[in-house]
């Protein structure tokens, strides 16, 4: 179904540590999204890119996360200083376009902050 690749599948960090995860979008998809899914199945949009440019991001992402989508390299999302509340499934999705186009999701990176 989806060809989005996310690594690592599992990540365990201590509080205050950096946590970095990567995403390779489907070939030909210029738009990449990051979402956070908590244990209550609630999804939160974090940031999206078109090619290398940030389209939108929420306040939390701007303050505590570092994200990029360099050309010819995987996209990445990094939490600068992990907190217990960051424990969640981080999902990357790619899309062939903006404006409501279909999104395809990777398997996610499950982050546990001890």
């Amino acid at each position: 179904n989806s060809k989005v690749i996310q690594t690592p599948r599992y990540l365990v960090k201590g509080q205050g540590q950096k946590a970095k995860m990567r995403c390779i979008p489907e070939k030909g998809h210029p738009v990449v999204f990051w979402y956070q899914q908590n244990k209550n199945n609630e999804f939160k949009f974090l940031i999206n890119f078109q090619n290398q440019e940030v389209l939108q991001q929420i306040d939390m992402t701007e303050k505590r996360f570092s994200a990029e989508c360099p050309s010819n390299s995987p996209c990445s999302l990094e939490i600068q200083s992990s907190e217990a509340g960051d424990s969640a499934l981080y999902l990357c999705a790619s899309s062939p376009g903006q404006g409501g186009a279909e999104q395809f999701f990777g398997p996610g990176t499950r982050l546990t902050v001890l």
Binding site: S2, N40, E42, F43, G100, E102, F105, G106, P107, G108
Partner: protein, 107 residues
């Protein structure tokens, strides 16, 4: 803000029967997607609709942007249909997800 209300939160079906899941949106959306979370935890795309209805095997989905809702109908449910189903709406930027319907199909 924009919200997606998904119902029911849980559903139990006997094999061979059917039912419908529904998502209501608080604002007009451009498109809706339906997903199923598989046994490995990955979101599998079931449907993408900008309007109207689509059918795939025993699944059928409808989206009415004017009335702000979408439905997913399952007929002749099989054991392998068990899992968690999510709708997600898109107003043109990022997706807003429902909180899921946990479906259990029993013999």
């Amino acid at each position: 803000g924009d919200q997606v209300e998904q119902s029911p939160s849980a559903l139990s079906l006997h094999e061979g029967t059917g039912s419908a899941l529904r998502c209501n949106f608080t604002t007009t959306m451009r498109a809706v997607q339906w997903f199923r979370k598989n046994s490995r935890g990955s979101l599998i795309n079931l449907f993408y609709l900008a309007s109207g209805t689509k059918e795939n095997g025993r699944l059928k989905s409808a989206f009415d942007s004017k009335e702000r809702y979408s439905t997913l109908h399952i007929r002749d449910a099989q054991l392998e249909d068990s899992g968690t189903y999510f709708c997600a709406s898109n107003s043109g930027t990022y997706q807003r997800f429902g909180t899921g319907t946990k479906l259990q199909v029993v013999p």
